[in-house]
Symmetry: C2
Subunit: 340 residues, 2 copies
DNA sequence: AGAGGAAAATGGAGCGCTCCAAAGAAACAA
DNA sequence: TTGTTTCTTTGGAGCGCTCCATTTTCCTCT
């Protein structure tokens, strides 16, 4: 077979290429390429020979070359910046579970890392290039840059990307679940500690809706600074202004921790003197110190559905964009109890 | 200038290439390449013309082509799997701060995502390819695969990669700091809750060393299952077996949370009845519920130093490998107080 | 045994860059 | 002016793959 007309040097110190594998297996480079891509219509004998040669030479395909030649990377880019809430771990796991079996990889980009450079995050991802993009930040759309591949906005982001699909947590439903749980337990004086961002706004809205439907007064306190993320001060204000409160719904588990701190400092025991419900079902919530009742947003499902949306859109680029809401569920632990 | 002998079609729907930029700017493709790489010796006029053309065409360089041609990606791979402790955020920030100004990117790979595939994490990274690798997991070395680029092990990992440099937190010193702090506050009956892994072992060792030096008894309880990460049960055992304990040193902040839960369930207030010190200075520690005294392991510095080690090693591939220890510092909050 | 069709294997062109040797332009000295 | 040196700019080759049109091989049926 030789080297297909190419003049090749001895294989020393050089990373092996498909040509090396091909001559080691006694086939053509094209056949090696077919085997690598798992293409059908390759005879078992040749396939085995190629796989054996790959092993022997410790051959590793060059993604750069494959990407360049195919003009496609089989990589999905995820724009991510909030590492405080661990929901992204679930999101990535969900994405990966759907995408990996289809040969897609996941690459994470952090917009805050692109602040210095003039190029936007999406530009950075497009340079890779990526075949599709998942937006999982609250970064304003204008800093993202133009997106010309299938895109999906994951979670509940205040972002409007034209043509992008949306896979969101149903934060409104989750907040209603939380509020209804407290009311069912006999609470009437319920406060809410909220933060900033799209998810927080929907949660506050769900809380208000249910309270008003029940003819109850919705007392809401907003954390002032993003510098102080745990809502401790907001909770102090809430408790001091409304001493008759018997329950608090915090917009997320981290803020619930702040509420617990404030309650402790005001001498209110949880759950005896004050019921507390969080949101996110983070590892924090299941700790034995809090045993926090919370809402599970099922972020892994968000990841799975986002991946499905992306795969579908790659097939149907011009279909109208779609929104899918993932239903959350109540997780009852020990931080809420019956009142009155 | 034309198209340098190439037959080009109209620029429609196609992503622009350096050839498009070149003809728009009236220069050769090589000159465009020089501008892109920020090479010296390009006249200001031409440079401006090229940059203008890049803007007008919204040109984005193809990383795949650049990588393939240069046989170098200017990307550093980070192997990461533990998202529970947020130290990795600091590590990445530190790496990025050193690497970005030198034109290097950071790519994260998760070994648990490679479980299904036959290829190892490192193989995956080498396929990218990456120019260097940071190992920041406890993944056994044999599952990593052969590494043939500069590598550094970051944090305190129980991993031995031949030829790799090590940038580690000085966990022994940190544990001594924590233990000495408790002793200085008058505590004599001190317990330690530990976990598994290299860092935990060193922390336990530091604790034992100081206790023995002071002629005190070192009471250590190990968490049993990785399923139950917060050390709640270990703390219960520790408290029940040693009712005279006045202070506990937890191997990390997450376990300190478990200890706090156990203390609460046994009716011991923190810090009045029991002083508690953690390790990691996670966001958890600064919460108002715990106000946890802890050890700051300065992971960002680990990232910075790991990046420096990598950059140095790329210049000096055959120098003997080196170990650098990052000194931790005590962060005093309200969970420890004077005893007796 | 030979024709015809399906299945399997192949060579060539080209993806968008980098790097290099060499050509061209500009600056300076004699 | 001309020669020499230095600074800019250029075309060509090639990186390691994919994809396609074509060729070769293998069956099946007459």
């Amino acid at each position: 077979m030789g080297h297909n007309g190419r003049v090749k040097q001895e294989l020393v110190g050089r990373r092996p290429t498909i040509y090396d594998v091909a001559s080691a297996a006694g086939v053509s480079k094209s056949l090696v390429s077919l085997v690598l891509r798992g293409a059908p219509g390759v005879s078992p004998a040749r396939r085995a020979a190629v796989e054996d040669a790959i092993q022997r030479l410790n051959y590793r395909p060059s993604r750069a070359a494959a990407t360049l030649a195919a003009n496609r990377s089989r990589t999905v880019g995820v724009v991510l910046d909030d590492y405080r809430n661990l929901w992204f771990v679930e999101l990535l796991a969900g994405l990966h579970r759907e995408l990996a079996p289809r040969g897609f990889r996941v690459a994470v980009a952090d917009p805050s890392f692109n602040m210095e450079t003039d190029r936007s995050v999406v530009d950075g991802l497009m340079s890779l290039p990526v075949d599709a993009i998942v937006i999982a930040t609250e970064t304003p759309e204008e800093t993202l840059g133009a997106i010309d591949v299938p895109a999906v906005v994951a979670g509940n982001r205040d972002i409007d990307i034209p043509g992008a699909d949306i896979v969101a947590n149903d934060d409104l439903a989750g907040a209603r679940l939380a509020t209804e749980h407290l009311i069912e337990q006999g609470h009437r004086e319920i406060g809410h500690v909220t933060g900033s961002g799209g998810a927080a706004r929907l949660r506050a809205q769900g809380f208000e809706e249910v309270m008003h439907e029940q003819g109850l007064r919705a007392r809401i306190e907003r954390q002032q600074l993003t510098m102080e993320p745990d809502g401790y001060n907001a909770a102090l204000r809430l408790l001091d202004r409304n001493p008759s409160l018997t329950a608090i719904f915090a917009a997320n588990d981290t803020m619930a921790l702040g509420v617990a701190g404030a309650a402790k400092d005001r001498g209110r025991r949880i759950p005896e003197d004050l019921s507390l419900i969080g949101y996110d079902n983070s590892p924090l919530a299941s700790s034995n110190l809090l045993r926090l009742t919370t809402i599970n947003d099922r972020s892994k499902t968000v990841g799975v559905e986002a991946a499905k949306a992306l795969l579908w859109r790659m097939e149907n680029p011009s279909a109208p964009s779609h929104t899918k809401l993932i239903q959350p569920e109540l997780v009852v632990r020990a931080s809420t109890q019956h009142h009155g």
